[in-house]
Symmetry: C2
Subunit: 265 residues, 2 copies
Amino acid sequence: MGEYAFDADTRVTASGPSGEFAAELTGRWDGTAGAVNGGYMLAVCVRALGLVLPFPDPIVISGFFLRPGTAGPATVRTSLVRSGRTTAFGEAALEAGGKDVVRATAAFAALAADGLVFTEGAPPDLPAPEDCAGVPVGSFGRATIAERIEFRSAALPGWFRGSPTGRPSSEFWMRFADGRDADLWSLPLLVDSTAPSVLELGAGSTTIQLTVHLRARPAPGWLACRALTRFVSGGYHEEDFEVWDSAGTLVAQSRQLAMVQPLRG
Amino acid sequence: MGEYAFDADTRVTASGPSGEFAAELTGRWDGTAGAVNGGYMLAVCVRALGLVLPFPDPIVISGFFLRPGTAGPATVRTSLVRSGRTTAFGEAALEAGGKDVVRATAAFAALAADGLVFTEGAPPDLPAPEDCAGVPVGSFGRATIAERIEFRSAALPGWFRGSPTGRPSSEFWMRFADGRDADLWSLPLLVDSTAPSVLELGAGSTTIQLTVHLRARPAPGWLACRALTRFVSGGYHEEDFEVWDSAGTLVAQSRQLAMVQPLRG
């Protein structure tokens, strides 16, 4: 059995000065605009930071996307900013094609197994995955990411049927197509893997910044997801994303700020 | 008439090498735990970045809080990471008391006056400010920030009355006590100025990371605010914050990840 695509494509190898890693961005996670997916690049940064920060779990990651990424050799320069009693902080700069592409900052800690629990809200109320249709939520234009990640939903998105619904929200199942289970390391990719909700408003989108909170280690199996844009104004929109695991636990919550783009025909 | 407290206390002066600024953190914005407020320190970083980045409006800021800040002389080291056609990115490191306290990254652009607008949700439905009671939402322990920012709400918070409600959410009016109107520069402070919602669960909180989206320049007058925690687990919680201006426009949306803390008596 070969290595899973996500693990192969986010591999980093120590190179050069301390904290510097070599990576290879592949064209296998391209998003709706045909560019290397931002969440994929963020996952590469987090994997490198995991080798530098002295705590086991990434708990929050912020990534700024300076320009579109390009497939090919890449370099991740990391630094340990502070290591405290409970939390460590690190920075990563991803360079691809000779250019600065992503700046990421992350905090690592150890997620507790006990303590106060409060939950408002619930996982999306979806038909079982086997009763859903495979939905090309991630496929638009030449999005190769749709070959790596499987989406299932009760109905095809309006934008995909050529009739945007005017409601920029969706609920669906998600998993890696090759059977790899999700973990904390892959969630930064997964929260950014779907087509933008604003397609339902007839608009496209370019991510400027993405913050991912990792709240629990996901149980194996399908992930139930909810994507939602509530505010479009001034040329920008936010997009919120929730990931719930097969045990009904919220495992990730993300929000991005993105620039509204005209759709290319 | 003197300078407004916010402007005086976030002043930065070029010092030393290019991109380095001197600041003076005051003890006038201390939060519920008696430490310098994180949003205040983030506002100092944003003000310094505004002198370095070639676009007028901060649109998204991410701050990581490495350790509690201390009042006194501080240094902000900024760098312009990239300046593109529509967006510029910069980093800031705030040092106070000889220690690294905050790492911030921001994107600046020009908020558009026109374009696609979509709004789901509405401002909090509050009685008029003159029909509300002054609420010490920000006052707990020795929080001096409650002297700088005025809060008004229909009812006193449960935690303040000694009976936490079990519902970590609130809606209230907010403005600077000295009459300064809010602008994009002060919103990073304002979104972090209230007591944490988890006080209604009988818990305290320490912010690890805060992301602020600035969506529109606020109209003068009272700000209608909504604070909400939906998930507490694994030792952490998120807190979402919305700020709506007097014209009914969403002007800021923020989310933080914070560590749950036992309350000190």
